[in-house]
Symmetry: C2
Subunit: 377 residues, 2 copies
């Protein structure tokens, strides 16, 4: 087949949520879906088989990191990212924009042509442009590539964001022109911060360029409020076509995934499940738990009763706690598996709820359990 | 069944090598066999399934480390070590002697009653006796326990070693008296350094106590020569009964495994395969290779052609090198799998060579390949 295709299967009655199917050259998966992050061509500590056993439909890899090491040319010569990392399922790459903008020291490093910054590895001066980002992604040969967008801080003014949205549109156009991998879909990215007018404008103009799918960017910034995130989605989605996938970039908090799905989002990604695993934390239906806490010392039950992940089927909290306390890698691995499975299982349950038009009831039940320790007003 | 049993199946014609079978409550395995080391109730970075897929017949866990964390009582309450770490194959525990003697600061800390030392974790003063070592191992519920022996340095004099051998015999007797786990075999340990008279005496006196198997200790010390190690085996084995397993403690160099098998040894253990993996090294038939070397940068072939391990079946040197250079855990995991499989495959080939009475030919071919870069004299 050619490039990735999205099909909307069903819309939920009471919300904007939708059930969909994404077909790629490396397999088909259902949406809503959470994508585990494999920054450097590996999901931290896990094998491709373990990631698939979590029910993952698609994973994400980071263009910035792979560009620097081992380099897109090496991956190209290896036969592309799928072959290089032995992952024969769908892969999405980001544009590198998010990482590059986090490394910018001064506003004058952001030019119309591209972005100047220093490598986080050796301080080497580098320059990333919309064209180069797409060319790198073409060589990585992911199934879905992202346009290179400006990623402004959460504190950016309406005036700054207006100019930034215009620039992101010009960059999207430039990237689209050089995109040459016919097996690879290219998504446009909607920006505009928390402002209704800017999101609407960004969405309408981006859609005019006819991308293969649309991302909602600028929502996983430090310091942004939940309300701003939900508004950004609400202000963007109405202008996105129904026959294209919608991807909320960088979001992996369970409640945010539910709120995103209710607002019409299909795809999510986040480093959260593996990052909190390395800090010894696990998602559960009753909120996050910290396995190093003494209360789990002799708890010979799984992290979560009823969870079908490899960790919960075979290991106890006491064992995982022991591994974490003696700094054994296998502890983080087991927690990563559990946390990724938790988020993917959440999307599976959301899909079931959409099928049965009971998404709002599902949300209420989930929140009651997940946030039960927070007193209601 | 009761405790572990060893059966000698065949003796090789031209050497002292033997083919054997060990039956335990957690399964049967063939000898010669290499045991991967799971110090803290986990083989560094690997799942039990991965260890088994390497063909491992039995693994080793360290009594000293588990005594300190999480403690033998916790493991007992978890249902024993097999259940705690989700490993349903045979497990051997050491006595803690090796670790404790490495922590002794002064000779006066070694008393007839036991050994004073400080915890490597928090400096707490601790005291380990032959009885306590066995009691801890009884609670861990391993399939094979080791007697608590004195582990003298490689530099110890004949006079010191003579007294040490006597003490080790008294300690073996004391441990045997308190051993109470009827599912658990108990091995005696032969000491005596590189001295023929001491090894003979130690072996004969230890065998008189009728243990379930016999270990050859004091051979994996820093500074010991290969000749001393091979002599220690040669001087011990003739006095060990044919119907009991023989275990050469702490040895995992491929050539030493071959030399040990030729001299009549059945079991080996070593942290080497996982330790060199963490340093980015892999065993191959042509000697060890260092994956970080630039020469492997674009080598899209497996670490070892023809190797049937998970790493070699699915990943290239270039990918493993990339993972190591960006400090991704999965790199060490893949190398650990390869290195453990390498040593276990070596023992499989040794078993085939014993069956066909061509062990010396096998050794010559292996050495020609493994050490080919070393000019012959």
């Amino acid at each position: 087949m050619g490039k990735m295709m999205y099909e909307c299967i069903k819309k939920e009655k009471n919300t904007k949520a939708r059930l969909g199917k994404v077909k790629t050259n490396y397999g088909t998966f259902d949406t809503p879906m959470f994508m585990p992050v494999g920054t450097r061509a590996t999901i931290k500590g896990l094998s491709p088989e373990e990631v698939k056993a979590c029910g993952s439909g698609i994973i994400l890899a980071n263009t910035y990191h792979l560009w620097l090491r081992p380099g897109e040319d090496l991956i190209d010569r290896a036969g592309g990212l799928h072959k290089f990392m032995n992952y024969d399922g769908p892969i999405l790459t980001d544009s590198g924009g998010y990482q590059v903008f986090s490394l910018v020291k001064s506003k004058k490093d952001i030019e119309e042509e591209g972005v100047h910054f220093k490598s986080h590895i050796d301080g080497k001066k580098l320059f990333l442009t919309p064209e180069l980002s797409i060319q790198i992604q073409n060589k990585l040969d992911s199934d879905i590539a992202m346009s290179f967008d400006e990623c402004p801080p959460a504190s950016a003014s309406h005036e700054y964001l207006k100019q930034s949205v215009e620039r992101t549109l010009r960059w999207a156009e430039r990237g689209k022109k050089v995109h040459q991998n016919e097996r690879q879909a290219l998504f446009g990215i909607v920006q505009g911060g928390p402002y209704e007018d800017l999101r609407r404008y960004s969405a309408i103009e981006t859609v005019k360029m006819n991308f293969d799918g649309y991302s909602i960017g600028g929502v996983a910034n430090d310091g942004e409020s939940k309300e701003d995130m939900y508004h950004a989605i609400d202000y963007s989605v109405p202008y996105l076509p129904e026959d294209k996938a919608r991807y909320l970039m960088g979001v992996g908090d369970p409640i945010d995934i539910i709120e995103g799905v209710i607002r019409g989002v299909d795809l999510f990604d986040c480093v959260l499940p593996t990052r909190i695993a390395r800090h010894g934390q696990a998602f559960t239906r009753n909120g996050k738990i910290t396995l190093k806490n003494a209360k789990w010392k002799e708890d010979f039950t799984p992290i979560e009763e009823g969870c079908d992940c490899y960790c919960c089927k075979h290991y106890t909290k006491a064992y995982v706690r022991h591994l974490l306390l003696v700094d054994e890698m296998f502890g983080g691995r087991l927690l990563s598996i559990h946390n990724i499975r938790f988020l993917i299982r959440l999307t599976e349950e959301l899909r079931e709820a959409i099928k049965e038009d009971r998404l709002l009831e599902y949300k209420e039940a989930f929140l009651n359990s997940y946030e039960k320790k927070i007193p209601l007003e």
